[in-house]
């Protein structure tokens, strides 16, 4: 299956964020949720089919214009499955954030089911003065299941310079992935990257989570846990709304999520 989706957020004449483009196809369907207020627009990814399966080619492009504020969430975890014998499934996510724009990307986790072969390519470019909060969670296998192969290949550029470049390979083809250098006995990992004018807060460290000021203008929090609950407990508080607000700091707000059929598991709001 091949599918493409695109969302473009920009500012209207009244300084409010509007969606100039909101387009998707199964299984990459997008819905606007909540109102569009001065605080920005929220969009949910609503999975239209099971998957990705081997052979799938999915692509999501996100654009946030100058001054616009967009939040992308998803209603349920993404489950990478083996499907038929075929090349790896691939999800490519690109995001471009203009100066003064703010993007919060906080999807539900990706679950690597046994036998899957999946590649996630993330390419983010933020102009100087833009703000980013980018969360990625990965669960290695469903409950009691061995982990399939997943490669997460991430590049985040800020102000024209590479801020963060990272690949994580888990599953039977990745040497040592379940050894004590990579994930050990952990079966869930989450990362939260923030970038922009206010993104760098002092680092802190514990045995299972680290908040790391990057060499450039940003910060990465990494948590490894026995399961996704441990990762959520470590990272969710860090992506409370208001954490990255494009230069203006404001008190945390409640986000109203409209569609009734949304998953109850909303870790990071």
């Amino acid at each position: 299956m091949k599918a493409k989706a695109r969302v473009v957020a920009e500012v209207d004449g009244h300084g409010r964020t509007r969606l100039a483009v909101l387009r998707g196809e199964s299984p990459l369907l997008l819905r606007r949720t909540g109102r569009h207020t001065a605080e920005g627009v929220t969009v949910h990814l609503v999975g239209g089919a099971a998957g990705p399966l081997r052979g799938d080619e999915l692509r999501l492009d996100v654009e946030v214009g100058p001054g616009a504020r967009l939040e992308v969430l998803s209603v349920a975890a993404q489950l990478a499955l083996p499907g038929r014998p075929a090349p790896a499934s691939r999800l490519t996510v690109t995001a471009d954030v203009a100066a003064g724009g703010a993007l919060r990307w906080i999807p539900e986790p990706l679950i690597a089911a046994a036998g899957c072969d999946h590649v996630v390519v993330t390419r983010v470019a933020v102009e100087a003065g833009g703000s980013l909060l980018w969360r990625d969670d990965l669960v290695c296998g469903r409950h009691g299941e061995v982990c399939g192969d997943v490669l997460a290949d991430t590049l985040v550029r800020y102000g024209g310079t590479t801020l963060h470049r990272h690949e994580l390979a888990v599953g039977p083809r990745a040497p040592g992935w379940d050894g004590p250098a990579v994930l050990g006995a952990g079966r869930a990992i989450g990362t939260l990257l923030t970038a922009g004018p206010d993104a760098v807060t002092p680092g802190s460290a514990g045995p299972a989570v680290a908040l790391m000021p990057l060499a450039g203008p940003g910060m990465l929090a990494t948590a490894v846990g026995a399961d996704i609950r441990e990762v959520r407990a470590a990272l969710d508080p860090l992506c409370a709304a208001g954490h990255v607000e494009g230069g203006r700091s404001r008190p945390p707000r409640e986000i109203t999520v409209r569609p009734p059929r949304l998953s109850a598991r909303r870790g990071c709001r």
């Binding site: 040592g176 050894g179 250098a181 990992i189 045995p207 790391m212 490894v224």
Partner: protein, 214 residues
């Protein structure tokens, strides 16, 4: 291309500060994840496939082209989220250059480059090839923590060296992959990360009693 020169550069007795770094092993020993030779095997395989591959590719690239040193150094910054690991890599780069400069003339790489850039620059100064720089990097990525494991855990040094011998072909393979990609644009060079090493390094840096610098 002198093999004896390569052996000098890869020798654990080179006074390049390596003895004080455990490559993240001390943190994982204290966390209880590494207790035996079997655990060390898992650690070293993960290390080789992640940091080992990255170091080897960057060392090969630095050896091949001195004009890329600054870009490669920035590329390693972007691949090293942990400030403690960035410091450790630069400290080891500086120490390696100190030793290397006494052996071969090398200039223009700065005072404190990331270790793989220093290694590549030195390899070039010593007349070695990018492929040899990659082997030295991959080899160093596992022999350093293996030696730390012998010291920290009192593991049988013969069994640890037997393990290193078993990993040697994988070390060669990683170095070959790394060298074959060393001409790629910096953003496309290997970037394999090891989350527990990042977390462990940050935690380790806060300890009051530690035997290794990283």
């Amino acid at each position: 291309m002198s093999l004896a020169t390569l052996l000098l550069l890869a020798d654990g007795r080179l006074p390049s500060g390596g003895h004080a770094h455990s490559a993240g092993l001390e943190a994982q020993v204290t966390a209880g994840r590494v207790r035996s030779v079997a655990d060390l095997d898992g650690f070293l395989r993960g290390k080789l496939a992640t940091g080992g591959l990255v170091s080897a590719a960057f060392a090969a690239a630095a050896c091949a082209d001195a004009t890329r040193w600054a870009d490669l150094d920035a590329g390693l910054d972007a691949r090293t989220p942990s400030p403690a690991l960035r410091r450790a890599s630069r400290a080891q780069g500086r120490a390696l250059l100190r030793a290397g400069r006494a052996m071969w003339p090398v200039a223009g790489v700065g005072r404190e480059p990331h270790q793989p850039v220093a290694l590549g620059a030195l390899a070039a100064a010593a007349g070695l090839s990018p492929g040899q720089a990659a082997v030295a990097a991959a080899h160093g990525a596992i022999t350093g923590p293996a030696s730390a494991a012998v010291r920290l855990l009192g593991l049988d040094p013969y069994r640890v060296h037997a393990l290193l011998a078993r990993l040697a072909p994988e070390c060669d393979r990683i170095a070959e992959v790394a060298a074959s990609r060393s001409g790629d644009a910096v953003d496309r060079l290997p970037a394999s990360g090891a989350p527990l090493l990042d977390i462990g390094a940050e935690y380790h840096a806060t300890w009051e009693v530690r035997l290794f610098a990283s």
